[in-house]
Amino acid sequence: MRLLALALHRLVWFVPTLLGLLVVTFVISRVVPADPVALVAGETATPAQVEALRHDLGFDRPLPVQFVGYLARLARGDMGVSLFTRRPILDDLAHRLPATIELTVVAMLVSVLIGIPLGVVSALWRNSPFDHALRILTVSGLAIAGFWLGIMLQLLFSMRLGWTPLNGRLPGYPPTHLTGLYLIDAAVTWDWATFGVALRHLALPAATLAFPALATLVRFTRAGVLDVMQSNFVLYERAMGLPRPLIVWKYILRSALTSTVTQIGLLFGILLAGAVVTEAVFDWPGIGTYAVSSIVLSDYNAVMGFTVWAGVIFIVVNLLVDLAHTLVDPRERAS
């Protein structure tokens, strides 16, 4: 019941929150002194030609009018056309989203598949040298600048050792387009050569992105497992003489996993923020570089389009995480 109330409460605020985000972004992007119409007109255009183009694009009308017009088109599902690529924003976003999704998912998988077991082992062998080494690693994970880690990895593995390519997703044309996720597209069409190349291109960026997430996961899994291990019912079971592996599996692992679920939202935040910088370092053609280049080029429509997308995703994820948190944590449920 409380869950439903929370969900409804958040939903009611969903639209105003999104609206607020749009207003803030709209104002910021329009206040920019640079003029993207100049980009469209080309560097050899005269001021008169630029003004004519501005009128054509509707950017000479008062700001509130432009905003309302944008909202009206948005309601119809029209995000407008990018001033830079001259293509519909939705197309551009759809084109670039798979790149970020692939990178983020692989990074997420890496951090989960490595992080959780490490966290559990670290807690079970508490204060062992292994545990100490891991703790140093996890503290480092959140202290290293992501862009610097990426550059150092490039230096070692690409430039010095030559094991991986320097950057980018693929050197040439992508495999047959099915999902836009190159690993899946290549595997499904049995194009294993491309699969291998794509995987090698993913190696460094995914590692860079996963590192802070991995560190966080190890920490919280360890803490969660330690919590459970010290809880009363586990002590009771041990006193009763139940074998350790059984205790580990039955209680510790399960509750560790549960606490991890609530960390997914946190993880998502880390990964998305990290994606922007990681994509910049590795020239990854995803949403992150799209957002940055749109901002830098003052591509109004693209900035708004990205903000709408990011805003919706974030608000939804936050809501889901809050709901999950409420479900899981009895203390929160009681409040």
Partner: protein, 287 residues
């Protein structure tokens, strides 16, 4: 006062927190004593093109950069910028976020919801992206970076304070004080604030680390203070085109950032362990 001493004593027993404190002390020393500790203090703005990209040696402990300036000396002066950005940005976020969190937590109903949803707006987009937008709009400079970071970090304070204030409201001592007729003002300042001081302090320390990382990222993307400012993130960006040859050029500032942020993180963790053991166990939202 006794409480402070108690905290310090407990902290001193935590080895990793001590390490953090030492690292921070090193950073502050580097910043304050930069003119004294550096070997080529003029290299903050002086150029020596004929000595560019030299490897570390006796004269240039960490080599020279693309303009022939001493990397080590510029690193020390860069510490000043790092501390400045961190302190002011976190301080400003605190001054904005804490009152907002207090008001939202104390009152109920739609004004409080409005404030929290406003903070959601700023959390909806990754801080880095929002900071980029602001810095790009206003132009790359030190004050603009600080502004961009302050404007995007305050929600973290607001959220923590909001949650704690709400939790405190249910405490008997607060309810009874209110029942006795204490004004909201008195209640907040005398009773609520001291109790939420711990999470605020912890978040400030962690916030320093986080802010410094984001500031470096902005500097890396070219949105920070302009050349020839020896900002660490910008230095890393400058060094890229000279890799793999001049690896020290990229490695040194990165290690500096790492040690600095590690220092604040370790201290923050130690503070959290000491001040609020309860926090350690709950999967608190972090950032």
């Amino acid at each position: 006062m006794r409480a402070v001493w108690f905290v310090v004593a407990r902290l001193a027993r935590d080895r990793s927190a001590l390490i953090g404190l030492v690292l921070i002390a090193l950073l502050v020393a580097a910043a304050l004593l930069a003119p004294v500790l550096s070997t080529h203090p003029d290299d903050v703005f002086e150029l020596h093109p004929s000595e560019r990209l030299r490897a570390p040696s006796g004269t240039h402990w960490l080599g020279t950069d693309r303009m022939g300036a001493d990397v080590y000396s510029r690193l020390l002066f860069g510490a000043r910028i790092t501390i400045l950005i961190g302190l002011i940005a976190v301080g400003a976020s605190l001054l904005i976020g804490v009152p907002i969190g207090l008001v939202a937590g104390y009152y109920h109903g739609w004004p409080s919801d409005l404030l929290m949803r406003a903070s959601d707006v700023f959390l909806a987009v990754p801080q880095v992206v929002l900071a980029i937008a602001i810095a790009q709009t206003l132009g790359p400079s030190l004050p603009n970076v600080i502004l961009a970071l302050s404007v995007t970090y305050w929600p973290w304070f607001a959220r923590v304070v909001y949650a704690e204030t709400r939790a405190l409201q249910k405490e008997p001592f607060v309810e009874s004080t209110a029942a006795l007729g204490a004004s909201p003002w008195r209640l907040t300042v005398l009773h609520v604030l001291p109790n939420i001081a711990s999470p605020i302090i912890v978040r400030s320390s962690i916030g320093m680390g986080f802010t410094i990382l984001t500031a470096a990222a902005l500097g890396f993307l070219g949105l920070g203070p302009p050349p020839p400012t020896p900002e660490w993130g910008r230095t890393i960006a400058e060094s890229r085109e000279f890799l793999p040859g001049a690896w020290w050029y990229a490695a040194a500032p990165g290690v500096a950032i790492f040690l600095t942020v590690m220092g604040f993180n370790l201290l923050g963790d130690g503070l959290r362990d000491v001040l609020d053991p309860r926090l350690r166990r709950s999967p608190a939202r972090d950032g």
